[in-house]
């Protein structure tokens, strides 16, 4: 908790609205807190928040509609807890970012930061899985958009607008999520190579294959890399075996791993760092070899959603100056692709623009309309929004 910040722990959407209304009247800067696993993300705010709004008591799974494959969750529900409940019905929210050592990350936090994990290859991102949203805006009004059905085009899709907005447009209070069946069996085809180009060819071969991998990742550390392709379903083994062959044809040493959960947990963890810095690069799938080489030459490791062109480059702990210089080098090298600093020590965060680019006028206009009094998480988003 920020020193000196008051803490409010509302227990209903309306109470969140009341807290926000009071904050607007008092001209307070409000920071929202969920499980606290991504607290440092975003830019260093120019001034500390006056008030911290904790979603801790907004912790109920309001509805789990098994037959409809939907669920309504309050923002403070730890995602791990919800997933455990859905798993009993062989269902899941197809979002699997790293959730913290003790699984504290909340659905609200995952949505607000648009965090994602390896399942993104098949199921896309939080924006694609959110069906409806309830938000408390900076003036205390509580609004809903979307709905509770998986198909709905009534009204503007504010759920997507709020996803990844880092709480700067309002407080995410409740979300409606689409669920998917949990695969009965999952296995992984894994191939190893120390050639970035071979990894690129292999991921391209799998990514363009008609096999529909659930996850398609790459990992690179210390001069060696892996391609991991996970298949889920009633009979995933046969498909994985064919992908093992495919990886072999591209020059990788490949095998099938049946007990594969550890591999994927490592991929999720690779997107985070507790003492170094992690840079998320939005590139194209075809750029994978350049990403790998850039990481290698920066002395960094990399995990990536190889089929989607997203990479997380993880720089080991170093002094502030060293980390700042490496981040800036990587940004120059990887231009024009966006490089967002995800994790980094506070003093690094203060010296670099974590977003790496400015906000557009249109973004500022959106902010000004939704949060005219600049109450909601001011200063931490792109361009100082």
């Amino acid at each position: 908790m920020a020193a000196g910040a008051r803490v409010e722990v509302p227990s209903s959407p309306d109470e969140v609205g009341e807290v926000m209304r009071a904050a607007a009247e008092e001209e307070l800067r409000v920071r929202v807190r969920g499980g606290g696993t991504k607290r440092a993300w975003g830019g260093a705010p120019p001034q500390p928040p006056d008030l911290e709004l904790s979603t801790e008591r907004l912790d109920s799974v309001v509805e789990h509609n098994e037959g409809d494959l939907t669920a309504v969750l309050q923002a403070g529900v730890p995602l791990a807890r919800a997933q455990a409940a859905f798993a009993e019905a062989n269902q899941m929210i197809a979002l699997d970012p790293w959730l913290g050592d003790d699984g504290r990350a909340t659905i609200g936090g995952v949505v607000a930061t648009a965090d994602s994990g390896p399942l993104r290859q098949r199921y896309s991102a939080a924006r694609d899985l959110i069906l409806g949203i309830t938000v408390a805006l900076g003036d205390g009004s509580v609004a809903r958009a979307g709905g509770k059905v998986i198909k709905n085009v009534a009204g503007y899709d504010l759920a997507k607008l709020f996803t990844g907005s880092f709480g700067t447009l309002g407080v995410v209070v409740e979300v409606v999520m689409r669920l998917h069946p949990l695969a009965a069996n999952r296995v992984t085809a894994i191939g190893t190579s120390d050639e970035p180009d071979a990894l690129g060819r292999a991921t391209s071969a799998v990514g363009h294959s008609p096999f529909g991998a659930e996850s398609l990742d790459v990992a690179w550390a210390d001069g060696q890399g892996q391609v991991l392709a996970r298949f889920g379903g009633a009979r995933p083994e046969a498909t994985a075996d064919r992908v093992v062959e495919l990886l072999g044809e591209e020059g990788l040493t490949a095998e099938r791993v049946d007990d594969d959960e550890g591999l994927w947990q490592r991929q999720r963890e690779g997107q985070r760092s507790s003492d170094g810095a992690v840079l998320r690069v939005s590139a194209l799938a075809s750029q994978l070899p350049s990403m790998v080489r850039a990481a290698q030459e920066a002395g960094a490791s990399l995990v990536g959603r190889a089929g989607l062109g997203l990479s997380w480059i993880s720089l080991p702990a170093h002094d502030t100056g060293g980390l700042v210089a490496t981040i800036e080098d990587l940004r120059r090298r990887l231009r024009p692709f966006s490089c967002v600093v995800v994790d980094a020590p506070d003093d690094v965060r203060e010296k670099v623009d974590v977003w790496g680019e400015d906000a557009t006028q249109l973004m500022r206009r959106v902010k000004a309309r939704f949060d005219p009094h600049n109450v909601c998480n001011p200063g931490i988003f792109v361009g100082g929004i």
Partner: protein
């Protein structure tokens, strides 16, 4: 709102931008554009302009802005909610000349198009190895720009999602003529997800002049199966059982007797005419997975009491099965001179209940109501058949259709699954959204279009203006820094 009679100065400017041949003011020519696919709303525009490039679109929009004149953008005009219905005192911007595929980047699974490229031609451009999943039944004609405006779905969205899940980049002309670039080929560019806000905004936030789409590989194997049932309830039960078994078909569709009768007249696809419902299930995926799951589905058909089943033996038969389904709306002309297509949604588990309600409404009103629906996602398309030549009948048909919408909302659903609000569903918006919800929508609209020039009178139930930002005013740090102004 509006700029009164379109003044000759504006028409001259539009002519200067697009050339005489591409500015229409003749009443007979304008009649072509008086409605979209929702034909009982008609309003010929006073002027239609057909720009030939993104730059011309920008110049046209800027000219309208300077004249204070509202406009409506239009693609192929296949929309079913009146979203492209012209306004009496505004310009109709017809985008049909922007029909080029600008780039196919198969390596990165992206296609960059102008707005009036047809939906089907995107898949054609990347086939047979890849495809563009959203596939509205109008796909041969309907355009990507229109799909973006409406967030179009289609037959395969239960598994593959909607237009919004496949747009990664947009170039948009805002109502002041400024051009903004949202996203690109890459994912997760920093900043607000304005693509998410724009897709499905029904032409009220601006005009997309360049659209970047994600395409995906075609699955290795497809199994298309049809089962026939003696009651819609039994077909619905089969759908529930499939979902409960953890199967995610690429498509699950139901047609009732009337729909089958209509489509058989046209397509001769071989559906029996004496069944209450035909359930079409398509699976796709790796061969081993598809084979295993197809066996499960056939077993579920049997358990649910199917009176017969049909499995597509080859691609030709698969196409025929789908041809019948996709023809359902068009074929309805064989049954009735006029019909009103409804597009509402219920949670899937409430389908049986809502269909009974639809039947009750049909019995009470005397109208025949055909049902085709996307059973996987609870999206109903009841077709209310009527004859507009009988006085008062179209109004009564619209009332019946409206009652279906209301029942769906009461069951926890939505007033529209894929056709949009447009003018048709405006009056139902308040059944689904509170005043505060609508106010939040308006904030978005005002951020994009503070002057209210883009497709006014659509989506929102009552006209709203973008006033000053309400509440106690505190000087915004962004304003202090001179980087933002208040609208």
């Amino acid at each position: 709102m509006g700029c009164g009679a379109i003044d000759t100065g504006l028409v001259e400017r539009l002519t200067g931008i697009c050339g005489q041949d591409h500015v229409l003011t003749d009443k007979d020519q304008l009649r072509t554009y008086e409605c979209d696919g929702l034909r009982h709303y008609r309003s010929p525009p006073p002027v239609a302009v057909l720009p030939g490039s993104a730059d011309e679109v920008r110049a046209v929009v800027r000219a309208c802005h300077e004249a204070g004149c509202p406009w409506v953008a239009r693609g192929a005009g296949t929309g079913l909610s009146g979203g492209a219905l012209p306004i009496e005192d505004g310009v109709l911007i017809v985008l049909t000349r922007l029909n080029r595929i600008l780039e196919v980047d198969l390596e990165n699974q992206r296609v960059v198009v102008e707005p009036c490229v047809t939906n089907a031609s995107v898949s054609d451009a990347v086939g047979p190895t890849h495809f563009y999943p959203p596939d509205p039944s109008s796909q041969v004609v309907s355009t990507i720009g229109g799909n973006v405006a409406e967030n179009s779905g289609g037959l395969h969205c239960f598994k593959y999602g909607f237009t919004t899940n496949y747009v990664t980049g947009l170039e948009v002309v805002l109502s002041d003529g400024d051009v903004v670039t949202l996203g690109g080929k890459e994912l997760d560019r920093p900043g607000y997800d304005l693509i998410g806000a724009f897709v499905g905004s029904e032409g009220t936030l601006g005009i997309a002049t360049t659209i970047t789409l994600r395409v995906i590989p075609v699955a290795e194997s497809h199994e298309t199966m049809v089962a026939y049932f003696d009651s819609i309830d039994a077909a619905g039960q089969a759908v529930s059982d499939i979902v409960a078994a953890g199967i995610v078909p690429a498509a699950i569709e139901i047609m009732d007797t009337l729909s089958i009768e209509a489509t058989e007249n046209w397509t001769h696809a071989g559906y029996p005419l004496d069944v209450a419902a035909a359930l079409i299930v398509e699976l796709d995926g790796p061969e081993a997975e598809c084979d295993a799951r197809a066996g499960d589905v056939l077993e579920i058909f049997g358990t649910a009491g199917a009176s017969g089943t049909r499995v597509a033996e080859d691609e030709e038969e698969r196409a025929l099965i789908w041809k019948a389904r996709k023809a359902a709306f068009g074929a309805m002309g064989y049954l009735s001179p006029y019909y009103y297509v409804q597009d509402s949604v219920v949670p899937r588990t409430r389908l049986a209940e809502i269909l009974r309600k639809v039947q009750e409404l049909a019995d009470e009103s005397g109208f025949r109501i055909a049902n085709v629906f996307h059973a996987g996602d609870g999206n109903l398309h009841p077709l209310v058949c009527f004859d507009a030549k009988n006085p008062g009948e179209s109004e009564r048909a619209e009332e019946v259709a409206g009652a279906i919408v209301t029942a769906c909302v009461e069951a926890g659903g939505s007033i529209t699954g894929e056709h949009g609000v447009g003018v048709d569903k405006k009056k139902h918006m308040t059944e689904m959204f509170s005043e505060q919800d609508l106010d939040a929508f308006q904030r978005l609209r005002c951020a994009f279009d503070p002057d209210g020039l883009a497709n006014p009178g659509k989506v929102m139930p009552t006209p709203r203006l973008c006033g000053e930002v309400p509440g106690p005013y505190r000087r915004h740090p962004l304003e202090q820094a001179g980087v933002a102004e208040r609208f």
